[in-house]
C-alpha cells in the first residue's frame, strides 16, 4: 500500500521486509520511539492499534516486537522490531503515551525478559511475585528451584504497591524512582484473588470512597502456568493441548488459530471439509462462550436464574462436542492439518436441532433479562468506552465492536470457511455496558446463521491432511490472528527450523479487557465494577498463560 510505503520511507534508519500484507520493520533501539510515534501520529494512516508486544531473546540479544495495525485498514500489519545487546540492564523507550494497552504489555516483557522501559511509571512485575529472581523467558534462565523456592508466606502487599520507574538522566546514568500506588489513608479493598465474581483468580485492589471507585489496580499471576515457556520444550503437535487450557471458553477457536499459523508456515493444504468442520465447531464454541458470558454477567448482577439458563443451553453444545470431538470443555479437535477425526454421523442432525432451540431460548433470554427494567437501568449510561479508547486499549472482540470499532478478524482476513458464509459483523456505537451486553446475544444469532449456512454444505474429502511424523517449521516468524469469543487471539511463532519453537507468544484478549476495566470503572460504584467485569467477559486463565 502506498501510504505505508510513504510512511516507511520517512524512516531512513529502518530495515523493511515485506511479506504480503505484513511489513517487518527493524529499527535501532534509539529510534524506536521516533518510529512508533511516526506510525501512530501521522494523519493519513494512523497505526492506532497495538496488537501485542512480543519479547524475544535471540541468545545474544534481547528484543521486542511491536505488532501494529491500523483500525482503518486492519488487514495490514507492521511488525516493528528492535533489539538490544545489553543483557545486564537492557532498556528501551516506553510507548505508553502512544497506546494505552502498552502499559500491561511492557510490564509483561519486563517481567519475563528483564527489559526496563524508560519512563513507564509502573515497572512492577506483571505475573510473577515482585521478589522473583531471574527472568524466566530468557534462554539463559536458571530454573533451579532453590533460587525461587515455593513461597510459604503471602506476597508482601507493600511490595505490590511500590511502583518503580526507570529512566536515564542527561549524563546517561540510570536512575530508579519509586512511587506509592495508594495514599496511606485510602480505603483499599481487595477484590479477589478469592471472590465470587472475579471470573477466576484475579486480584483487583480497589480504592474506594464510600461506594465510589477511585482507582483499580489489577494483579495477575495467581494461576500462571508458564505456558509460553513450556511451549519452547514441546513439539509442534503437542502445543495445541496447552492452548485449550488457556482460555477454556474459546479454546477451540484459539487452537484453530495456532493450527492455522503452523499450517501457514508449513504451507500445508487443508481440505475444505476440515475448514467447514472447524468453522462450525468454532461458532458453536462462540455461542457456548457467549452464553456463559451472558449468564455470568447476569449472575454478577444478582440474577442467578439467568446464569443457570445460560448453562442449561450451553450444555446442549457440550453434548454435541462430546459426541463428535470426545471432550466437553477441552474438545481437542483441531490438529495440524485438519481435525482429529471426522464428524460423528449424528453431528449434523444434532446441530440442526440445536439451532431452532437456541433461537427460542434466545427470545426467552431477551424477555427475562434484556427487558428487565432493573437490568436496563443498571446497564444504561454506565461504563462508557469510546471508540478511540477501545482501539488504544486494544479492547477487541465484542467489547470493541460495542464501541463501534470494526475489528472482526472473521471479516478482516476471512480464514477457514468464513468466506463461504454470509454474516454481518455486529456493530453498535454507544460503547455502554448495555451495548456490550446485547452485542453478545446478537452475535449468538449471527453464529447461528453461519452454522445454518454451513451445516448442510460440508464438502466431502479427507478431514485431515497428512503431515510428516516430525513437524519442523522453516526458519522465520509466523503470525496468525483469529477471532476468539472474547477478542482477537494472535499466535506469534518464531522458529529456528527445529522440532521445537524458539519462541511462542499468544496475545491474550482478556488481558486488555482487564486493562479496559481499569479505565472505565473509575467513578462508578462497586456494583458497577462487578457488572462491568461481567460485561467485558474476561477469562483469567487466558491472562495468566
Amino acid at each position: 500500500m502506498k501510504v505505508i510505503q510513504d510512511l516507511l520511507a520517512q524512516m531512513p534508519y529502518a530495515e523493511v521486509v515485506r511479506q504480503d500484507k505484513t511489513y517487518l520493520v527493524t529499527v535501532p533501539k534509539e529510534q524506536l520511539y521516533a518510529a512508533a510515534s511516526l506510525l501512530k501520529n501521522n494523519e493519513k494512516l494512523s497505526f492506532d492499534y497495538l496488537n501485542d508486544i512480543v519479547g524475544i531473546d535471540n541468545g545474544d540479544s534481547l528484543g521486542a516486537v511491536y505488532i501494529l495495525s491500523a483500525s482503518q485498514f486492519p488487514s495490514y500489519i507492521i511488525r516493528l522490531k528492535t533489539l538490544t545487546d545489553d543483557r545486564e540492564q537492557p532498556t528501551m523507550d516506553s510507548v505508553i503515551d502512544l497506546w494505552l494497552s502498552a502499559d500491561l504489555y511492557e510490564r509483561e516483557v519486563h517481567d519475563f525478559f528483564g527489559i526496563n522501559f524508560l519512563h513507564n511509571p509502573d515497572m512492577r512485575r506483571l505475573f510473577l511475585r515482585q521478589d522473583w529472581k531471574g527472568y524466566p523467558l530468557r534462554k539463559d534462565y536458571d530454573a533451579n528451584p532453590e533460587l525461587n523456592p515455593i513461597p510459604t508466606e503471602n506476597e508482601n502487599l507493600e511490595a505490590m504497591e511500590d511502583l518503580p520507574t526507570v529512566d536515564i538522566d542527561l549524563n546517561g546514568k540510570r536512575r530508579e524512582q519509586h512511587q506509592k500506588l495508594f495514599e496511606k489513608e485510602e480505603y483499599v479493598v481487595n477484590f479477589g484473588p478469592q471472590h465470587p465474581s472475579t471470573h477466576g483468580a484475579l486480584h483487583l485492589r480497589v480504592s474506594l470512597d464510600g461506594e465510589i471507585i477511585k482507582k483499580i489496580d489489577p494483579n495477575f499471576g495467581y494461576i500462571h502456568r508458564g505456558i509460553e515457556k513450556m511451549c519452547e520444550t514441546y513439539t509442534y503437535p503437542q502445543i495445541p493441548h496447552l492452548i485449550d487450557r488457556m482460555d477454556y471458553l474459546s479454546g477451540t477457536i484459539h487452537r484453530h488459530g495456532y493450527c492455522l499459523a503452523v499450517e501457514k508456515a508449513l504451507q500445508l493444504e487443508v481440505s475444505d471439509r476440515a475448514h467447514y468442520i472447524r468453522t462450525i465447531i468454532d461458532e458453536l464454541t462462540r455461542i457456548a462462550s457467549h452464553l456463559l458470558g451472558w449468564g455470568c454477567m447476569a449472575n454478577d448482577m444478582g440474577a442467578i436464574t439467568a446464569f443457570i439458563y445460560g448453562m442449561r443451553d450451553r450444555e446442549k453444545i457440550m453434548d454435541i462436542f462430546e459426541q463428535t470431538c470426545g471432550g466437553r470443555l477441552m474438545p481437542n479437535y483441531s490438529c495440524i492439518g485438519g481435525v482429529m477425526h471426522d464428524i460423528h454421523p449424528e453431528f449434523q442432525k444434532k446441530v440442526k436441532a440445536f439451532v431452532p432451540y437456541m433461537r427460542k431460548m434466545l427470545k426467552e433470554d431477551h424477555i427475562l433479562f434484556t427487558g428487565n427494567p432493573i437490568a436496563r437501568d443498571r446497564m444504561d449510561g454506565v461504563g462508557y468506552l469510546s471508540k478511540e479508547q477501545a482501539i488504544s486499549l486494544g479492547a477487541t472482540g465484542p467489547t470493541g465492536r460495542a464501541s463501534g470499532w470494526s475489528n472482526d478478524v472473521r471479516k478482516i482476513e476471512p480464514y477457514a470457511a468464513y468466506r463461504h458464509a454470509d454474516f454481518k459483523e455486529m456493530l453498535r456505537s454507544d460503547g455502554l455496558t448495555f451495548d456490550r451486553y446485547v452485542i453478545r446475544l446478537d452475535e449468538i444469532e449471527e453464529s447461528l446463521k453461519i452454522i445454518e449456512q454451513l451445516i448442510d454444505n460440508i464438502p466431502g474429502g479427507a478431514c485431515c491432511a497428512k503431515t510428516k511424523a516430525i513437524i519442523k517449521l522453516p526458519e522465520g516468524e509466523f503470525f496468525q490472528r483469529v477471532e476468539g469469543s472474547h477478542g482477537e487471539f494472535d499466535v506469534f511463532i518464531s522458529s529456528k527450523g527445529e522440532k521445537y519453537p524458539w519462541r511462542v507468544k499468544f496475545r491474550s484478549p482478556c488481558m486488555t479487557l482487564v486493562n479496559t476495566l481499569k479505565h472505565i470503572a473509575v467513578g462508578g460504584k462497586i456494583a458497577d465494577l462487578i457488572m462491568l467485569g461481567g460485561s467485558l467477559d474476561y477469562v483469567v486463565p487466558c491472562i495468566d498463560r
Partner: protein
C-alpha cells in the same frame, strides 16, 4: 369454624382449676415461649427447604432430593451440620459486639413473630397497638446488622452494613405508610380487631383500589426489609461475598440465616393479616352455600395458605430479578414508593368518606 381457640381455652381453664392464677399464668408463659421458639425453628426449616426447592424448580433443576422423601429432611441435616460447626475465633473483631449482633437480629425477629395472630386465640400478645408494635420491633433488627458489620472489622462487612442501614431505614417508611392506609380503613391498631373486621370482606376488597396499591407497596417495601431478592444489597453475594455476615461461622451465621427466613415469613404474615383477612376464610356476601364450604377449612390453614402464597411470590421475584444498585434502590423508595404511598393515604381517606 374450627378454631384452635378451643384448645388454648381448655388449657387455660384446666390450669386454673388446679393452680393459683399466678402459677397458671407462669406455666402458660413458659408454654407460649416454648411454642413460639419451636414454631420459629420448624418454620425456618420448612422455609429453607421450600426456598431451595422452589428456586431449583425455577431454574430447571430438581433441588434437594437426597435426604428423606423429596429432600424434606435436607434442612434438618443442614441444621445439625451448622450446629456442629466450629465457631471460628477472629482475632481483630470487637468480641462483645461481635457476639451480641446476631442476638439482636434474632430477638427482633422473634418478638415480631410472637405478636402474629395465627388464629382466633392463637396469639401470644394482642396489643391494642399491635401494628405499631410490629413496625417498632421489626425495625430493631437493623441495629444488629449494623453492629455485625461494624464489629467484624472487615471492609466488606462494613460496606454491607452501611448499605443495609440506608436500605432498611428508608423502606421502613413506605412500609409503615402502607400499613397506615389499612389502619385508617379499619380504625384500629389491634391485630385481632383488624382481622375480625374482615369476616365479610378482606381488606383488599373492602378498601378497593387504595388497598390494592397499598398491598403492592407493602409487598415491595417489606421484601426490601428482608434483605432478599433484588434487594439483597447488604449481602450482595457477587459484590461483597456475604455482606455483613461474612465473618460469622457456625450457628452464629445460622442465627442471621434463621432471622432472614423468618423475616420473610413475618412480612408475608403481616400482609396476609392486614390485607388478605388473616385467618378469615374467603367469603362472598350473599353466597351462603359457598361461604359455608369455605368455613369448613380451618382458619389456621387459611392463615398459612395466604402466608405461603405471599412467600411464593417473594421467592418468585427473588429468583427472577437482578439486584438493584444502591442509587436505584434509594430512588425506588424516595421517588416512587414514598410519594405513591402518601398519595395513597389521601386516596384511602377519600375512599372511606365517599364509598
Amino acid at each position: 369454624m374450627f378454631h384452635l381457640e378451643i384448645i388454648t381455652k381448655w388449657l387455660d381453664e384446666f390450669l386454673r382449676t388446679y393452680l393459683l392464677d399466678g402459677w397458671a399464668l407462669f406455666i402458660e408463659f413458659v408454654l407460649i415461649g416454648v411454642a413460639i421458639l419451636a414454631a420459629y425453628a420448624v418454620l425456618a426449616l420448612i422455609l429453607i427447604w421450600l426456598e431451595r426447592k422452589v428456586c431449583a424448580f425455577f431454574q430447571c433443576r430438581l433441588g434437594p432430593n437426597r435426604v428423606g422423601p423429596f429432600g424434606l429432611l435436607q434442612s434438618v441435616a443442614d441444621m445439625i451440620k451448622i450446629l456442629l460447626k466450629e465457631l471460628i475465633k477472629i482475632n481483630k473483631v470487637d468480641p462483645f459486639l461481635f457476639r451480641t449482633a446476631m442476638f439482636l437480629v434474632i430477638i427482633a425477629s422473634i418478638c415480631t413473630f410472637g405478636a402474629l395472630p395465627f388464629d382466633k386465640g392463637i396469639q401470644a400478645v394482642d396489643f391494642n397497638i399491635g401494628v405499631f408494635y410490629l413496625l417498632a420491633v421489626s425495625s430493631l433488627g437493623v441495629v444488629g446488622i449494623l453492629i455485625a458489620g461494624w464489629s467484624s472489622n472487615n471492609k466488606y462487612t462494613l460496606i454491607g452494613a452501611m448499605r443495609s442501614g440506608a436500605q432498611l431505614i428508608s423502606y421502613e417508611l413506605s412500609c409503615g405508610l402502607a400499613l397506615m392506609t389499612i389502619v385508617m380503613l379499619s380504625g384500629s391498631l389491634q391485630l385481632s380487631e383488624i382481622v375480625a373486621q374482615q369476616s365479610y370482606a378482606w381488606n383488599i376488597f373492602r378498601g378497593g383500589i387504595p388497598a390494592i396499591i397499598a398491598l403492592i407497596i407493602y409487598l415491595i417495601a417489606g421484601h426490601a426489609e428482608t434483605n432478599r431478592g433484588p434487594f439483597d444489597l447488604p449481602e450482595a453475594e457477587s459484590e461483597l461475598t456475604a455482606g455483613y455476615h461474612t465473618e460469622y461461622s457456625g450457628i452464629q451465621f445460622g442465627f442471621f440465616y434463621l432471622a432472614e427466613y423468618l423475616n420473610m415469613f413475618i412480612i408475608a404474615a403481616i400482609a396476609s393479616t392486614l390485607f388478605l383477612g388473616g385467618w378469615m376464610p374467603f367469603h362472598i356476601p350473599g353466597w351462603a352455600g359457598f361461604n359455608a364450604v369455605m368455613d369448613l377449612i380451618p382458619p389456621v390453614i387459611w392463615f398459612f395458605g395466604k402466608t405461603f402464597a405471599c412467600i411464593f411470590l417473594a421467592l418468585w421475584v427473588r429468583w427472577t430479578m437482578p439486584r438493584l444498585r444502591i442509587d436505584q434502590l434509594l430512588n425506588l423508595e424516595w421517588k416512587i414508593l414514598m410519594p405513591l404511598s402518601l398519595i395513597n393515604i389521601i386516596l384511602m381517606a377519600l375512599w372511606i368518606i365517599y364509598v
